[in-house]
């Protein structure tokens, strides 16, 4: 439909407003994933990731702004006693005549004491306590972060994404150790999740495409009695909710000893899927019968026709099936949740959920980085296969 100019403007306005709403969660995901932790939990939020720089220990480094001092304070070094050698920031009133009022732990009790201390500097109210930003996880070992108190105007802040969050998020999943030929390798759990997901997805894609194509050919191109009934039964299985078959399926895989392995997630694919059979059958029906007949006259077997004529002609439809199954395997959550037990067998979905349940509620920057890492491949895949993908979805709706 050709639209008049005011109508075109209105359509654009609506679409732009909608696009902003639909894109915003993605923007929020990516910007949060690139913010340092202290910037994530902030109201009002910062729209862009920023980094702060200040002079700490005589060197200009990237810092974390821990807090702004709400009272005049002192920076002291304890020179004797149990806490000898510590460098502390105390309220001004707690330091008098070379003595600092601090708590000392004796056995399991905390005892207030006066410890001898030397003054490093006085810190006025309004200064910032800054700590050197270390590119490692909080629980990882290494030299302690240097810290200092600096005037507010000595902290320089500029827009800068914290790419390290992605490294952090991957390392945060833990490490997995394995031996190959006597050599020990250590990889982040995240890599193991990715590997498991790819195993399930790739094997599943091969299986489901092959088996579904075979069955679809049997339904579409071989005129045997009963095929209509069988096909109708095949279609009707799509109506059965997973909740019905969930328990017996678990029982079957348990009897096979497959619980805790990836097998329940990909082996069934080698027997085809109702939806894919349907999709491929619709496509096979459109291929002219003359082609098969000609091949048959040349002495080609039925399987030969399937393999040498039908499959090469059906590449677009096969691509749709493969793509759908890959996406499905990548996203599937309930299957891995039911069948997998040990962390090293988790897929990305389950790994990410596990990660969330362990560290959720605080480390949003890592969570968002991990979520981005899970979404990104699927979006890239979509951009490369957009046409196939959209056509696949369209045909399902029209011929349903």
């Amino acid at each position: 439909m050709k639209l008049s100019k005011p109508k075109r403007v209105a359509v654009h306005a609506l679409l732009i407003a909608g696009s902003v709403l639909f894109l915003f969660p993605f923007v929020w995901l990516v910007t949060t994933s690139l913010k340092p932790i202290e910037q994530t939990m902030k109201m009002p939020p910062d729209w862009l990731p920023r980094a702060s720089y200040a002079e700490v220990g005589g060197e200009r480094v990237q810092v974390v702004r821990e807090r702004q001092l709400d009272q005049p304070s002192v920076l002291v070094h304890i020179t004797d006693g149990r806490r000898k050698g510590e460098r502390l920031l105390l309220p001004e009133a707690k330091y008098q005549d070379g003595k600092a009022a601090i708590d000392v732990r004796v056995a399991d009790r905390t005892v207030p004491t006066q410890a001898p201390a030397t003054l490093e500097k006085r810190v006025p109210e309004g200064w910032w306590l800054v700590r050197e930003k270390l590119e490692r996880l909080a629980q990882e070992e290494g030299p302690p972060a240097r810290w200092d108190c600096v005037p507010a105007d000595a902290v320089e802040t500029r827009v800068q994404p914290a790419w390290w969050n992605y490294k952090g998020a991957i390392r945060y999943t833990g490490t997995y150790e394995f031996s190959v030929l006597g050599a020990t390798f250590r990889v982040p759990m995240f890599v193991v999740y990715l590997y498991n997901t790819l195993v399930v997805a790739v094997l599943g894609v091969i299986g489901v495409t092959l088996a579904s194509a075979l069955a679809a050919y049997g339904f579409a191109r071989v005129p045997w009695p009963g095929r209509r009934v069988c096909f109708a039964i095949t279609l009707s299985t799509m109506m059965v909710p997973f909740a019905v078959t969930m328990v017996p399926l678990y029982g079957i895989f348990r009897a096979l000893g497959w619980i805790g392995t990836l097998k329940p997630l990909w082996v069934p694919a080698f027997f085809g899927g109702a939806f894919n059979i349907f999709l491929l059958r619709q496509f096979f029906l459109t291929v002219p019968q003359d082609l098969s007949d000609a091949a048959r006259i040349d002495g080609c077997t039925e399987f030969g026709i399937f393999w040498r004529i039908m499959l090469p002609l059906s590449k677009p439809a096969l691509a749709v099936v493969a793509l759908f199954h890959f996406m499905y395997a990548w996203k599937d959550f309930m299957g891995p949740l039911i069948y997998l037990q040990k962390q090293e067998t988790y897929t990305l979905s389950l790994g990410l959920q596990f990660y969330q349940s362990q560290h959720g509620g605080s480390e949003w920057h890592y969570l968002m980085a991990a979520a981005t890492l899970m979404i990104l491949p699927i979006i890239v895949l979509f951009f490369f296969t957009q046409r196939t993908f959209i056509q696949g979805i369209s045909t399902t709706g029209l011929k349903g």
Binding site: L3, L14, L15, G18, S19, F22, P25, W28, T40, M41, K42, M43, P44, P45, A211, L214, A215, Y217, G218, V222, P223, W224, P225, G226, R227, V229, C230, T234, T237, M239, V240, P241, F242, V244, T245, M246, V247, P248, I252, P268, F271, I277, F306, K331, F333, M334, Q353, Q356, G360, L367, A371, M374, I375, I379, I390, S394, T396, G397, L398, G400
Partner: protein
Amino acid sequence: MRTVAGLNGLASGRMIAAMTRKQRRDLRNGLLFISPWIVGFCVFMLYPIVSSLFFSFCDYSVLERPVWTGAENYSGMVHDEVFWISLRNTAYYAAVSLPLGMFVALALAILLNTQVRGMTVYRTIFFLPSIVPIVAMAILWLWIFNGKYGVLNYSLSLVGLPTRVLPTWLDSKQWAMPALIIMGLWGVGYSVVIYLAGLQDIPVSLYESAEIDGASWWKKTIHITIPMLSPVIYFNLVMGIIGTFQIFAAPYIMTNGGPERATTFYTFYLFNLAFEDLRMGYACAMGWVLFLIILSLTLLATRVSQRHVHYER
């Protein structure tokens, strides 16, 4: 050659004897081609369906042999308060999110079917959220809905809503469900694509003749677009019924059924019964009840659609 193909019903022994050589070869070939599927169907579909029906009349924990208890699981549901809560929650979710989602999807599809510049970009934008894996989506929206630092509440305060009226979304009994519905709307792109395909199949000539008759945009939408699109609307409705009644991952990850069971959905409860409490027999019975609900709703939709859906033949 085609007469055999037209027969409905499975081949019996007598029929095989009466067949020509070609017909027998076709039968053998056909069965060979679908043999992987038949095996898969029997092992992963037929057997589970039959045994699930059997288990639904048993006390079964998967660790021990099932013990026949008759209809106890089914009668137990009547007195199971959580069962009714989960059913009500699921019905609430379906009753709101399904029509709302269908309306938004249809409206977007109509907008995306107009001829303005940059359409491919718009289409991609609206479609993208629907390919985001559910776990990643859940974690992202947990953060967006966060009551304290969430960007949604911040945006609402920017439009002038006072902070005290802003809900804590997933932590609030009243607002957890609307939150999940909002998140669901974000993933509406999949049905938009199906509607779009349907819209593109409507012959332009219909609109052209309506224009000659001086029909307005609204009239054309009501009298051409919607009737011509009705098979697709019906398809999306049935898929929507099947999908919304099985919602599981979002409440599992985001709310764990809470607060105060406000998001304890049917499948969520069923999953917990089966794999946390190991009450597998009861879970199977609930599975069958769910199947019957989905089946009757689908049949109802089909009955209604037979009166209203316009099929072009």
